[in-house]
Amino acid sequence: MKVKTLLSLVVTAALIYALNRSWNFGKPIPPLGKFLDPFHGFWKNAENKVPPVVTLKGLRNEVSIIYDSTLIPHIYAATEEDLFFAQGFVTASHRLWQMELQTHAAAGRVSEILGPATLDFDRGQRRLGMVYGAKNSLSEMEKDPVLKTVTEKYAEGINAYIASLDYERLPFEYKLLDYTPEPWTPLKSALLLKYMAKTLNLSEKDFEMTNALKLFGRETLELLYPDNEHVGDPIVDNPTGWKFSPVSLDSDSASAEALVKITPMEKSSPEIGSNNWAVAGSKTATGSPILCNDPHLELNLPSIWYIVHLSAPGYNSMGASLPGAPTVISGFNDSIAWGETNAQRDLVDWYKVQFEDNTKSKYLSDGNWRPTRKEIEKIDIKGKESFYDTVVYTHHGPVTYDESYHGKSEKNHFAFRWIAHDPSKELLAFYLLNKGKNHSDYLKALDNYSSPAQNFVFASTNGDIAMRIQGKYPVRRKDEGRFVLDGSKTSTEWRAFIPNEQNVMYKNPARGFVSSANQYPADDNYPYYITAEHYEAYRNRRINQRLSEMSKITPQDMMHLQADNYNLKAAENLPTWISMLDVSKLNTAEKKAYEKLKAWDFINSVDAEGASYFEAWTRVLVPMIWDEIDSARVTLPRPTYYTTFKLVREKPELNFFDITSTPEKETATDVVRKSFTAGVKMIEKWREDTKKEPMWADFKDSYIQHLARLEPLSYHVRHGGNGNIINAHSKRNGPSWRMVVSLEKSGVKAWGVYPGGQSGNPGSPFYHNMIDVWAADHYFNLHFNTAKNQSLPFSMISQTIKAK
């Protein structure tokens, strides 16, 4: 062979090799030949063909799926086994990549897909014992024959879909990031629920509070961080209702007193929360109850929710499901409806652990050296060698923070005790809610629910409405849970749990409605000590005020209330702040801002400029007040907005209003004035940069981000609202699902919407089709029925799954 022939052959072979594998030149590059091939590559993901008939192994009978015009699947099966198999198959058909990514994230396995940037996150997940908690839950689930079947059939359905994939049909993100899905297991469903528990029930500030107590003393601590801000109505206000003898503990809960120097992991945003309420028939136009729910979570694509209608003999429910978990999570059936908001409660403790020596093989407990257990965590990293981390387990839980993780100058070790580590079977609660017929079924279902603790709202076609704050709650002594605890004494540990029937709940209150918006749970007569990282102070007051005023309520009224943009935080504080300004000294821009703010009606609507000025003002004011907290050499907690602004109004001479970096001594009036000037500058700068007027929706610039953080797959949304407003849409967090259910005896009617689309495929028109509808505060009709032929009139695509 001639040299040039050989050369040409080598070039051809090298090209094929190079284009058949992924590369990383600072930016990851997919295997371009495979990826760009229009016969099998990414182009194919723009064709969204749903095969009319598929034949799968694992089904007993044929299953029919009718997709309506929103791509909501209505699944009709002959048995529950087939139903959950089909739920797994259908959900995976539209959301597989997301389902796997989220469970990888839960398990601390993101680095194997995205590379070294996420190593710290992965280590954190391992050190929080996410897999440990999921395995504990799984073994409990497997003991229950129903749950075992439900989770296994769901996994089988997902695996049937995975088995049907070739490169051509692989979801887009797998092609782009060049990997393939692994088989689904029930453990992954358990991991997903732990991931939700981490988002919702990991909030604590024990290290920060320990430092605050040490630095500020008790009096200041109670002023800045009260357990109960006593604002608005508690979720359940039932002072004469607690007719039980509470569990009491005699031992004290001693707390460790040294300063803590670790850097805690990133916490969930305080904007994560939710609204739910139910109004009794006495307040509605039809005489039937109406139930509403809107969980506020980080808004991403593909969306956290997937709407399904599940129908089999003895089972007929519809609503929002979590891709990766069987059943409907927030939804309804032909008799009842239910929905959740997060129950704010401290369910985490940190125990200071004393090891015998550097080997960390033994630790002190009641004067004895107890052996530890060590887990070696292997973290695979794309394009790099694996990272090994040793996580030491005590009987409390994993030692999360030590000298190798977020605690370089910290000589102490902290073991992590978390309710979500305990065996639990919350899926059984959802399964039973899906099948529930009345209030007592709802109560029985919730007896199986441990974590993450939620405020479960309920309404039924019988006319009942109810609220129950359900979770597994340790019986706490006063102050227990607020500070780091001494891990060497078992007397400081959780000794008992509040019996389910003593949890906060009530039914059909006289006011004609129940509601929750992450506020303080119970009136002062509730006999157990309650503490939490924070409570929401504004949304609940607005909701309760509006619901009290309203009568002859229609579902449309409820939709308007979910979209309510009234900014109570501004209404409560802005007049005071404005009165503190020295109007004679304002420059032109400040004068204009002043006028806009004075004229503003406290509604955070899309075009409200006053809302932008108020937001800018707040963004500067809060860090200016808490400068000594933010700049401290140890981590300290920031007081809530409510407490902060109350201090501005009521204690303007407080030392904290002094700005430490200036020689003079400031008061609340000074910081309000200085922050106004800086806030106006922020807006002026924004105006210069964007060449736009500061309308609220533009200034806020809400963003719904693709889970791989790819900008071209993400969307900016113009929408009103903000944190602490019923329409809780801030820049990144907001109502991730909105549902209104009218429980009419003649037939349940329901509406729902979420900021995303039923398809997780960026090449599908259903990837983001609901965003604009949601941002316009409109809803889709959720076609609920009992039989397949009732779905046919609105069928867009139908699919039959045949048993092999």
Partner: protein, 114 residues
């Protein structure tokens, strides 16, 4: 004329195998037609490049048009280069070099004796 025949043959052949088989099988077809048609190196390369490049363009275009560019416009913002151009270059280069290799392996020797 032979250039055109080779190009058309490459398009049809590659379409047929690629419909079922992985992307790189088109290189085998482009190579085979390069070998059979005995065009000069440059001609064969161009024929392979245009054959595969055009085929990939047309198939991609058909999907793009049918889906109203729903995915194409997103991918265009992920990659620094227009994805149609990228597709044609990647397909074309592999097709071109494969065809070149084929023609070089079966060069006409007769011409030397004229």
């Amino acid at each position: 004329m032979k250039f055109l025949y080779q190009t058309v043959a490459t398009i049809i052949g590659c379409f047929a195998v690629q419909y079922f088989l992985p992307w790189w099988t088109m290189a085998i077809i482009a190579f085979a037609f390069g070998y059979l048609f005995q065009n000069k190196g440059v001609v064969s390369f161009t024929s392979g490049f245009i054959g595969v490049g055009l085929l990939w363009f047309l198939v991609a275009y058909q999907i793009d048009a049918a889906s109203h560019s729903i995915l194409t416009e997103k991918i265009n913002r992920i990659f620094p280069l227009n994805v149609f151009i990228l597709t044609v270059i990647v397909g074309g280069l592999v097709g071109g070099f494969a065809a070149l290799t084929g023609s070089l392996m079966n060069e006409k020797r007769v011409s030397k004796y004229y």
